[in-house]
Symmetry: C2
Subunit: 399 residues, 2 copies
Amino acid sequence: MIEIKKREKYKLYVDNKPFFIKGVGGASNIELAAKLGANSIRTWSCENGEKILEKALQYNMKVMLTFELEKEDKCYFSENYKDKKKEEIRRFVKKFCKHKAVLLWNLGNEVNLGKTSKEAWKFIEELADMIKKIDKLHPVATIIAWADKKSLNSISKYCHSIDIVGINAYAKYFNKIIENYEQSLYSGPIIITEWGTIGHWESEKTEWEAPIEPTGMERVKLYEKSYEYIVKNSNVILGSYVFFWGQKQEITPTWYSMFAEWDGKGNLNGEPFAVVKLMECLWKNNKMPEILDISEIKINGKYGKENIKIVSNEEYDVEIVLTKKVKKLSLLVEVQEEEKEHGIAGENAIRPKTVEKNRINSKKFRMKGINKSGEYRLLVYVLNENGFVGTANVPFKVT
Amino acid sequence: MIEIKKREKYKLYVDNKPFFIKGVGGASNIELAAKLGANSIRTWSCENGEKILEKALQYNMKVMLTFELEKEDKCYFSENYKDKKKEEIRRFVKKFCKHKAVLLWNLGNEVNLGKTSKEAWKFIEELADMIKKIDKLHPVATIIAWADKKSLNSISKYCHSIDIVGINAYAKYFNKIIENYEQSLYSGPIIITEWGTIGHWESEKTEWEAPIEPTGMERVKLYEKSYEYIVKNSNVILGSYVFFWGQKQEITPTWYSMFAEWDGKGNLNGEPFAVVKLMECLWKNNKMPEILDISEIKINGKYGKENIKIVSNEEYDVEIVLTKKVKKLSLLVEVQEEEKEHGIAGENAIRPKTVEKNRINSKKFRMKGINKSGEYRLLVYVLNENGFVGTANVPFKVT
């Protein structure tokens, strides 16, 4: 039998001009994002919504504005919760639907991490329908964690007013997104609303469950590969928001952050990591220059995944490999306690305590012993004359 | 206003397997086409239909089988013509609809070169509808000359049973196909049913209207560029049929032909031109090797477009440039009268008379004078040890 199979192709248009979303996840550093070639930001709630819209307008950026929704399934059985939520969203949309910086409205972030009975999806549909009655100028989206077929099927079944599905997906299974999408019942357009490095839950771990963070150099490669996939599938992917355009504590202060923290002592001052340069190059279609970064890190000759254990009060040797030669090396080395309680679904965790912090100017160096046994992590930053900071860290145990 | 625009993406499936048409236009050399990686042939009528289907089956090739339709508009007002045509097609489809070599049925070739009033399109719809009632296993197409918006609009309006539009398009405006398609009302899939070199009507001409034929080397580049465009747009283009898989007289014996003629004297024996090798490489995704061919040809230092005129009975100098160095050069040089009456819409014309034919082994040579004034063309073939033949020709006038 000879058949023609049909699939949809989508493109986003802003005022009749094609608009491929070159977005950043995060509302800080908007000016820099615009300068580097981004054209959109996304939020996780409508907190500070007006401020963000104004700031975006100032730099000609569009906003994917999120209304927070609970993951807790019982909320969707509570008329009180739903009424309040509807009122909050109705008011916001009415007030800002003519704001020139609005790109689209988004209902919830990773609601599917909860139990998500059909009541949740039906409520999302109710909200989408309500928004579309108020505002006929902007599409409405909902964001799910991972290209989860069950959720995509539910959206297809219950959420006819949803125009776009946002998908948060990290590097490890990134190339399965379209496969899952195609196997699902949902056939509308998608946006990759969070993407970047490997997720800490999908990364290799030590015996004591400490996730191994990619080095700065490895991270650039992960971002590069994922973006290639996004562009390759731009028939259904309307664009993306790279994660995280800012600094946050999640496992480490660097894992998802695209900028260094401010340590208040002048060592680290919110410098961009190499992935920021990479995004500029991808957005502007330039070739990525070679940037000084760290490609490998070892303690006593062992990589992180080899379960590094050192005896308390004993000195240990650290060695890093750099991506290129450098005349005057300037490292910042920090030993931290391992993050104890992880934030839920990406909430900021408490920054672990610093045990030791030194400036060092050699690729091989000896660290003094730690007297208290426990789980630690050694972080190395390489300070770059071009204003970038290279990163690597490795978990270890003091016994 | 923020909008999502939707467009269709199509793929052809044969027995549930994706099938990108790597087709040849012509029913000769089927065995060779199959060997080189083609998977389909097309016809211009159902003459010898059974034989062609059997031959195709033997080499695992699929056939786009055409039922000839008149370009003359008055036929579509004649019940007699239409009844006979319906009967002819009904019988053929009934007889062969289960034949494993059938890929699709095609109604007419370039019917739009006639006046094509809506009666023509309505009759095509009537035929398509009739076929689909007999045969539910194969799509039905119609082929038009050029991605003509008016015809595409008419097909969209009158021919709802047409599944695919075949477009015959030559090199000069090839990259306008999708633009035209997108601006038309038709949004179904397309097949490029004739493509290859530049059309003689769109090529540069001498003062006396003799079209300038691309040299063998120029021709390879034209085919390469067009195929790239086909692959790039395979979201809506289901594949293509390269033209002409065989030998025909149209302006010259080489213009559209992908193989040399048989001159009956052992000089030319149906050898493939370099474009045949190119198609093999494109179908098999191989790199095109360097093939000996002609890149330039001049008479008395002038290119064809410079209106070469020579005085009767005066000798003239010919010079060719080759694509690569060759140890032992073997040329066949032929002077012909210029084609007098062109075939209509690609019908074979009468082969012009040969004035002179010589074997030569130098890139520069002197030809003896011609005593009768008139329009002529000098053809040069370079015989290649690998079995290929390179080509070039140039029109000139004897005054």
